[in-house]
């Protein structure tokens, strides 16, 4: 049974390798990619069901028992994220089938996307902090290729920055892990948690935790996001959608994992710093989103704002706010995919992303307009869409913990989010229709199917929030009570 955890990692990996052999048969590649992602989704849904009814699944790779071997741990947080990540990648792929150029398709774009999914799923599932680094690298190497593929001038410029910043943060990651190993003598996360609790999180361990905060801040765009708007606007829209929906979210996940499982003993130091980092992230991100006039830049800054908002909930650290953060994280993966896919379609249609150069798309592509509009409402957190529930839970948790100032910042930045994406909507869909059939660069129709599916999901998640919450509450339970995680992995009953 525990072997079920390996499938979300090896199915995409094996498919990616098979695709290398059928480089020229694009149609077959597309079918295999869809099939493998569907299989991954199905298996991860079953895992969610199993974890919700039975227990946390732990796989000891090669039969080496924890804490000596490497384990994969499927708690609710991890398995839900695996399911959502695989689903969102499938949606981005459905959009990408038509809008990715043929040159890219022949240069291993699908294998790379699948390797990216492998890395993302592995990062969620692993229970070993060095192994987390390895899966991070798998994901990053695939993303280096995806960002540079095509070789346009802007892509090469941004990929150099992106590679540099990630090499630096990965080096810091290894250094932090080495310090942590030197201080505790273990790399298994459950074992680490136990030992840190035993030793008390004194100055040394708290310093190490700050090193991790810097690393994951760089990866997720928490305050250290200066690289993000450039890199996310360089690749073609489907790849940008994939990055926006997945990459920073893995960083967010690692922050959640390390600061709820490992370094939760000194919240007055670590979580306070994180709180103000999140607040600054929201403010600066919102200023960036409001001030730009290119679709890609506005959307990239929106990624940053939501990272700030999710980690604001994590920094508050009460059960309710963590609940809200996780809910909002899932919502954000879905809605960022939606807004990037529909926004990407607008860019495809006009052939440019400068807001001042187009207008009047609503008569030309009404369905796309409505999908984008729902995406706008979802980002802003309008009920009954899914963002609302998460936002309410985070803000309630924050207010009951007495974080009034940052809550106000959160609310103001949501308004600025709404303004920034409505600006895209108004400028691209309202006004005089300048275009007639046949003048567009691309039909933009391929965004409609994934867009519609995502809208349905966002509605379902908002309306069925009560039902979704039963699963999310299970994930939060492990976050507030790390002993559940430790017991599952080390199989010993803590007093």
């Amino acid at each position: 049974m525990s072997n079920i955890l390996i499938y979300p990692i090896i199915i995409p990996l094996l498919t990616a390798m098979v695709l290398v052999f059928i480089r020229d048969r694009i149609k077959l590649q597309q079918w295999l990619t869809v099939l493998s992602l569907l299989a991954t989704i199905a298996i991860s849904l079953y895992t969610i069901y199993y974890v919700s009814t039975e227990q946390i699944v732990v796989l000891e790779l090669g039969g080496w028992s924890a804490p000596y071997g490497i384990v994969l741990v499927g708690d609710m947080l991890a398995v839900i994220l695996v399911a959502v990540a695989s689903f969102v990648s499938l949606m981005c792929l459905l959009y990408g089938f038509q809008s990715i150029e043929l040159g890219h398709k022949k240069h291993f774009v699908y294998p790379m996307i699948l390797i990216l999914v492998t890395g993302v799923n592995g990062s969620f599932l692993t229970g070993d902090i060095f192994n987390l680094f390895v899966f991070f690298e798998v994901m990053l190497i695939a993303s280096y290729v995806l960002i540079a593929l095509g070789g346009k001038k802007i892509q090469l410029r941004e990929s150099i920055k992106y590679v540099l910043i990630n090499v630096i943060s990965s080096t810091l990651f290894v250094i932090a892990t080495a310090y942590l190993y030197a201080a505790t003598g273990t790399l298994n996360m459950a074992h680490l948690s136990e030992r840190i609790a035993l030793a008390g999180q004194e100055g040394l361990l708290t310093s190490i935790s700050f090193l991790y905060l810097i690393v994951f801040g760089l990866k997720s765009g928490l305050l250290l996001f200066f690289w993000l708007p450039g890199s996310y606007s360089a690749p073609p829209p489907p790849i940008a959608a994939l990055f926006a929906a997945l990459l920073t979210k893995v960083g967010v996940y690692t922050v959640i994992r390390t600061f709820t499982l490992l370094f939760y003993h000194k919240p007055e130091i670590t979580h306070t710093v994180m709180l103000w980092m999140a607040a600054l992230t929201m403010i600066l991100g919102a200023l960036g989103a409001v001030s730009h006039w290119e679709i890609k830049k506005i959307l990239a800054y929106n990624v940053i704002i939501s990272v700030g908002f999710i980690l604001f909930g994590v920094a508050v650290g009460t059960e309710q706010s963590l609940n809200g953060s996780f809910f909002y994280l899932i919502h954000d993966m879905l809605s960022k995919a939606l807004i990037f896919i529909t926004g990407g379609a607008i860019i495809n249609i006009f052939g440019t992303d400068k807001l001042k150069e187009f207008s009047g798309l609503i008569l030309f592509r009404p369905l796309l307009g409505w999908l984008f509009f729902i995406g706008v409402l979802a980002l802003a957190g309008v009920p009954p869409l899914s963002g609302f529930v998460g936002k309410v839970a985070i803000l309630q948790g924050a207010l009951s913990a007495g974080e009034l100032a940052v809550s106000i910042i959160g609310l103001i930045t949501s308004l600025m989010v709404l303004y920034s994406v409505l600006k895209i909507f108004i400028h691209s869909f309202w006004g005089e229709t300048l275009m007639s059939e046949g003048q567009e660069y691309s039909t933009g129709k391929h965004a409609l199917l994934p867009g519609t599916i995502l809208v349905v999901c966002i509605f379902a998640m908002g309306i069925g929030a009560e039902w979704v919450n039963t699963y999310i509450a299970q994930a939060t339970e492990v976050m507030v009570n790390p002993n559940l995680y430790i017991e599952a992995v080390l199989k010993q009953i803590s007093p």
Binding site: I6, L14, F21
Partner: protein, 141 residues
């Protein structure tokens, strides 16, 4: 321009086989002693790079008509599939087993499934290294 260096080319023809043999020894030694697929792959790659230096890209490509990208992919496939074998048998992923066989010439030999995994790593390393090196040395893609 035809590049010829008789000393280098003659030495290479012998050295390549020596290096290759050593790399395979290292690959097999890896199960119990220092060595293994990764370092074995790197040594093989170094032998092939020596060929590239002594002769030229075209000549070596005619002698060794292997698509190194596919070699790397095949290596990963083999490695992961050895793990899948343990899924079929219902034991944890990547579990390994070994048995002793009486082989001609070698006598009693231990053969482990981990060796197949290492072979995959070996192919992957050779493939990746040579893909990188040959694509840097080419002017056009």
């Amino acid at each position: 321009m035809k590049f010829t260096d008789v000393y280098l080319q003659t030495a290479t023809k012998i050295l390549v086989f020596l290096i290759m043999t050593f790399s395979i020894y290292v690959l097999f030694a890896g199960h119990h002693n220092p060595g293994g697929g990764f370092i074995g792959g790197l040594i093989t790659a170094s032998a092939l790079v020596l060929l590239y230096v002594a002769f030229d890209l075209q000549t070596v490509r005619e002698v060794i008509p292997v698509d190194f990208k596919k070699l790397a992919a095949a290596g990963v496939l083999i490695s992961v599939l050895t793990g899948v074998g343990s899924l079929v048998l219902g034991v944890p992923f990547l579990s390994q087993t070994f048995r002793y066989f009486d082989l001609p010439f070698l006598g009693k030999t231990e053969l482990a499934t981990a060796l197949i995994f290492d072979l995959g790593v070996y192919m992957c390393v050779v493939g990746t290294t040579l893909t990188i090196i040959t694509s840097i040395s080419e002017d056009d893609i």
